[in-house]
Symmetry: C2
Subunit: 297 residues, 2 copies
């Protein structure tokens, strides 16, 4: 391995679920991990749980710095890390890619050394649910820009490999469209559903908690972080959501008519259920495609 | 126990997930179970799996008959069972109550001997997932009508007790409103979401399958049965869904504006997420209310 591909020390900025899970995965591979967070107590907690050691101002540079903060905080955090020369290469893990990269560029960050990334994992669990195998066998999207150095990409691919994940290269805009479809819109819809139970009496909630596969799980996420992510990916989220909302408005009208004795549009309801059944079956049976690495969707 | 409270033999008509699970629960308590289904092979399979014995034309009457068929088939199935004097008391398990009861009355069924019921359990699993503890600790709604005999209600409460469930008495209309809220609308919304992935390429599905708490589970249900249930509860479903669809249309517009640089309505998005977070927290922590039996919501 060439000297610049070396990954002996990694700095992790942000010790939430994702940052800690990366730290645990790296520690399990014998890699030194330096932890930083705007919340000092969170770092103390992460250190106590064995995620690594505190990053001090006097610590010599790491080989790679992972910016594991919400998307809105990525540009300023990257700028600060680069200004103090935390590492020669940087990546992030946020669920939106276009807006943070654009903002980082506007802020004067060195984007040649920054590989925008997004490990696809359940992100609604609390930090103490962090575990080293969170990314194992899962996709980890990388969106290198035109000016990203290839050695930086190589180093981040090594990080992904050490976490047991599979790198998937794509354009940032493609990532954001897919993230809207598989994550951001489901989050919004789950929140709307869960919100309909916000004022429900205890008996209804008790019955509801046993009524079938849970669809409100994503609504457990931190609403402040969620609002930030949605606003950063606003255009794709509204594009994907508009179709779904329109479908729901249509079946709502069809059912209103049916309730009044006019079954003319019940076929639309059946069609939505059949299409949903197809999507669900495909999702439940989804496997890693054979063209597994670096493919554009 | 008085002679008419005796529950030694139970007929189960319909050997899907719910019918079989009731059969298993009763068999575990030493009760004789007689099985019937419009699909003869399904009965053979259920018998082979130990759910009971085949109900023959010559079998003497059971103490209770459980009509475990989809709501649209309840009236005719009940009528047929009563005409052949299958048992002195009947109950059903379907997820809608007002429409089937009304149709059964119109068909000339004896409603004094029929206790409309609905065990609240996950209903999307296939029949072979049946298990005796499916109802344990869960609510089982009963909606006796004005003319329902009290001894019939007593007998069905005994059935519920034998299944380890908790009887919850309420008006049929109240049940249907609650079912729309906790089951039918989530099913429709999950189907709309899953439908957005029906044509997605394999890589997107693979990434999506790891993207967080699954919200598409209910879409796995049989679309034909689902369409029937929704149409039978059309008014309540459209009432509940219209609010949720309107919320989604609103946040969609707010995000479209945000994507164009106008953040004026992002507060609406945050409000929806906060309300969802509240509902999710209440749902996840839901416990059986202290006023546990026979309470009206």
């Amino acid at each position: 391995m060439a000297e610049r591909d070396r990954l002996a020390t990694v700095a992790v900025v942000g010790v939430g679920l994702i940052g800690r899970s990366i730290a645990f995965a790296l520690r399990a591979q014998g890699i030194r991990v330096l932890l930083s967070d705007s919340n000092r107590r969170a770092v103390d907690d992460a250190v106590r749980r064995g995620a690594g050691e505190r990053l001090a101002d006097t610590t010599s540079p790491a080989d790679l710095s992972v910016i594991a903060v919400p998307p809105g905080a990525v540009p300023s955090t990257l700028r600060h890390a680069q200004s103090r020369r935390m590492a020669p290469v940087y990546t992030d893990v946020s669920g939106v890619k276009v807006a943070p990269v654009r903002a980082a560029r506007a802020l004067g960050c060195d984007l040649t050394a920054f590989v925008p990334g997004h490990p696809i994992a359940e992100e609604t669990a609390p930090a103490h649910a962090a575990r080293p195998d969170l990314f194992r066998g899962r996709g980890w999207v990388l969106c290198p820009q035109e000016d990203t150095r290839s050695d930086a990409v190589t180093l981040v691919r090594r990080l992904i490999e050490l976490c047991g994940a599979i790198p998937v290269l794509m354009e940032a805009d493609t990532h954001d469209r897919i993230a809207a479809l598989i994550s951001h819109v489901p989050y919004l819809v789950a929140s709307a559903l869960a919100g309909s139970l916000a004022d429900a009496p205890p008996e209804v909630l008790w019955l509801g908690s046993a009524a079938g596969p849970d669809v409100t799980g994503p609504a457990a996420g931190d609403p402040a972080v969620g609002a930030e992510i949605l606003s950063q990916n606003a255009t794709w989220v509204s594009n994907v959501l508009s179709d779904i909302a329109a479908n729901l408005v249509d079946v709502c009208a069809a059912l209103q008519l049916a309730g009044a004795g006019d079954d003319s549009f019940l076929g639309d309801v059946a069609a939505l259920l059949h299409r949903g059944h197809t999507g669900r079956r495909r999702l439940a049976g989804a496997e890693r495609p054979h063209d597994e690495d670096g493919s554009e969707e």
